[in-house]
Assembly symmetry: C2
Homo-oligomer: 357 residues x 2
């Protein structure tokens, strides 16, 4: 069952596999399955598709136990969905943060087919006091960080019910028209559009409807940060919504660019629940910014490609490019990483240093 992965994927970690897309190879709007990044916390679980069940339990009127057949027979939906690891870009941070040292390629955009989570919850009948949906996975292991449970845990993450209602959360069994690959969560994974991808739980086995906010490891210790609203004490808050971001695919870091050429700078940009309104590019380290062209029409939950024709100057030497996205809600990429997010939410305008020759 193990799908062959394109040699172009960069191994950031093995056992378990953590594989990065080559972002500089960006081409179409949809990332092919074989070059889609892979983020795993524990080993890929062995799942027998015939005996596998999705259980729906907790604060529901009718607990469910659904086979793959049951799920495939339900009305399906297909939509684009960008997934970005909350640590994408971590290798560029200084000081260093623990975790997988991703460059720009822990992000991708695919078309997902599956059953809306809302339909499953409707079939189960939510109790009125339900507040969160816990997505529990089959993969299991001992957690990494110091404040961890002693025994092995399953990967698990929750979503407030209000968010499930506002977003097209999908339980997906197909990716870009193919059966969902094992590395991407077969037989069933969640797709939570507009949230960092830790919420898009792979290898789903149980949906727990909870009467209180979930305090599992992956939302209190890992994938969480200290938030201190004005005048309040810091509280440990689970990561959730994607921040507005753009990335430069080409030129790649340290690429050599021909003097006096016209170079096609290009990349992608995305945000959460807002289309991208403007992309600006600087080719002189931020002294001046020019507007780039958006190449894709807005499409909900997808990224948009953009391009900019750069008249490369005649003088040889180093040169720094950056891109800056603004979304329809007026949110703009910052110039520096916000250290409150520790090694997560890295959406500042990452400089790309090139050599003109």
């Amino acid at each position: 069952m193990k799908q062959p992965l394109r040699p172009g994927l960069i191994s950031r970690q093995t056992d378990p596999d953590n594989l990065e897309s080559l972002f500089s190879s960006l081409d179409g709007r949809i990332t092919p399955n074989e070059s889609f990044y892979v983020r795993s916390h524990f080993a890929v679980p062995e799942i027998d598709a015939r005996s596998w069940r999705l259980r729906v339990e907790g604060a529901v009127a009718r607990p469910l136990s659904l086979s793959s057949d049951d799920i495939i027979k339900m009305p399906s939906a297909t939509h684009a969905g960008l997934l970005e690891c909350a640590g994408n870009g971590r290798v560029f941070l200084s000081p260093k943060h623990e975790g997988v040292q991703w460059e720009l390629g822990a992000v991708g955009c695919a078309r997902w087919t599956g059953v809306p989570l809302a339909a499953i919850l409707e079939a189960a009948g939510l109790n009125t006091d339900a507040v969160e949906i816990i997505l529990e996975a089959a993969d299991e292991g001992v957690a990494e960080k110091t404040s961890r449970p002693a025994a092995p845990i399953h990967f698990a993450r929750s979503i407030p019910i209000a968010e499930v209602r506002q977003r097209d959360v999908l339980l997906a069994y197909a990716m870009n028209g193919e059966p969902l690959p094992k590395a991407h969560g077969a037989p069933l994974r969640a797709i939570v559009p507009g949230w960092y991808a830790m919420a898009s739980v792979k290898w789903l086995t149980r949906i727990l409807v909870s009467r209180q906010p979930f305090r599992g490891y992956f939302q209190t210790i890992d994938y969480a940060y200290w938030s201190a609203p004005n005048g309040m004490q810091p509280e440990r808050v689970p990561l959730s919504e994607l921040a507005v971001k753009s990335q430069i695919a080409r030129p790649a870091m340290l690429e050599t660019v021909a003097a006096r050429s016209v170079y096609r700078v290009h990349g992608t940009a995305w945000s959460s629940r807002a289309e991208i309104k403007k992309i600006e590019v600087t080719t002189n380290g931020g002294e001046s910014w020019q507007e780039a062209l958006l190449l894709d029409a807005p499409l909900e939950h997808a990224w948009q490609r953009w391009g900019y024709l750069w008249n490369v100057p005649g003088a040889s030497g180093p040169c720094t490019l950056m891109s800056r996205a603004t979304d329809a809600r007026g949110r703009v990429q910052p110039v520096a990483h916000d250290s409150n997010y520790e090694g997560y939410v890295i959406h500042y305008t990452i400089p790309v240093s090139v050599q003109i020759a």
Copy 2:
């Protein structure tokens, strides 16, 4: 303003002071102020009593700002209150756990006078969606454990509103009939009967009525543990209710006891929302247990003293004593520490090794 402390207190840490009672000196049911243990997270804050205010904010109809005079004019209540540090007994654990290495003396019982928290909340008028009361203190510093906020924080802890209603939570300004000593939280501290003492926040400055469970450092990282209900993923849960416990005051650890004497073994016992029903003592390392005599009538929120006359055998050599409490709800002290609680909730039957000579 710094009250002199009795030389009998054991320094476990200085800067800030963490001072332990000499539990072997146990005498009356009420612990005198000068020998009451002191637990501090940060330096004692400088508070100007005249300008000090208790603010009551958040999900309330009428935010309040109360001076000491305002509070003293309100109807007062006085009751006993046992305080036990959640790490009391930590020095006996193996493997070692980080934190202050208390023996038996991070516990005491005083009489507290103050205003019921319920009366303050009634004056402010709780909104119907309020779920927790956050108690915020004046003391401030950088937290200790690895997963901590970068900036200094105030000590802060929360109590669910249902608990405030069920317990006689007091905001105390007097301790054993004297003005509350500075080391114990003057001008005002909380007393949360039946909970570990981290909830009895000292140097109160603000009461925040919250619409969601508080996720501050002292309830997600410190003073918290992994709880895994049957079939569920582990969740990080704040410590709360005291566990049933008894301690032997005399003989003290490693005390020499006269052969063929009649030795008065004695100590105290406590639980949460239940009186102590039975104390058993073993003088042979657990081979056999005899019932001890309870010396105090039950008194809500107080400990009960107990005694047992031991006919010390004639043969010299080492000997191990333990005591075991059972409360009115049938809860019994365990024989071993439950490592799920890490370095907290140490209520197993701690052996006292003595020498018969």
